[in-house]
Symmetry: C2
Subunit: 126 residues, 2 copies
Amino acid sequence: MRRATVGGMSTTTADEVCCPGAGADLLPAASADELALVFKALADPTRIRLLRYLAESGAGTACACHLPGALGITQPTLSFHMGKLHDAGLVSREKRGRWVHWTVRTDALRGVRAFLDLPEPAGECC
Amino acid sequence: MRRATVGGMSTTTADEVCCPGAGADLLPAASADELALVFKALADPTRIRLLRYLAESGAGTACACHLPGALGITQPTLSFHMGKLHDAGLVSREKRGRWVHWTVRTDALRGVRAFLDLPEPAGECC
DNA sequence: TCCAGACATAGACGAACGTCGATGCATATG
DNA sequence: CATATGCATCGACGTTCGTCTATGTCTGGA
């Protein structure tokens, strides 16, 4: 039996009154953190455009040389965003001579894509 | 012909030298903002668990009465997070008597789900 | 060997975020 | 009507984020 008494607050009174059958298990905090990490990396317009740009380029790979101008940001800012995407595992870095080429890691999106396939509402609650 | 001269910076020299065929069109800023808004709403472990909880509950609907205790957060914090999800259009609010019942709006995830279906790397760059 | 260019890092700064306790508002119930 | 309760809002606080300028590091070419 699930008892909602973890955080010190006791909202036990509501447990009996309101929709008693709606109790679903919570996603483990670790899994939620992991998902949030990827979503955090996607939670910026600039990074979204960068990822999309890379994905549309040939082989999902491109060097970012002309992107600062196109996006209206400076080179350090671009480096910052690419670093974020890299930390989240969404792109891989490859140094070719003087330039860095970036490749989208589509497999890193599997987790979040699975999460977004939420079960369709089927039953009735209360 | 694409010329990367928007933001005031002129990185024109690199245009000729480095991977000239990799130029893909940029996602419009408005679309990127829209996507980022949803991703921002998902970029928090607590909200991820809330959304998953709602989706797993019967009919994708539940009142949030016993959630503060289960998640270890206070009632104002829960209200804050549900507000964020609501602002992003991910849940809908329905007041039944004294309680508020929340329903997942799976259709609101269509946009981000389409974005995450990035084209697989196919060609070769340079 | 030295210089120019591509990228990363450091430091700074304002804005937004996540959390809390305290309070206000609306509604069901005695 | 008075009271209790579920929820939203307010004000505050520390943390994280996004951006910039300035500087460092490494590589290729003259």
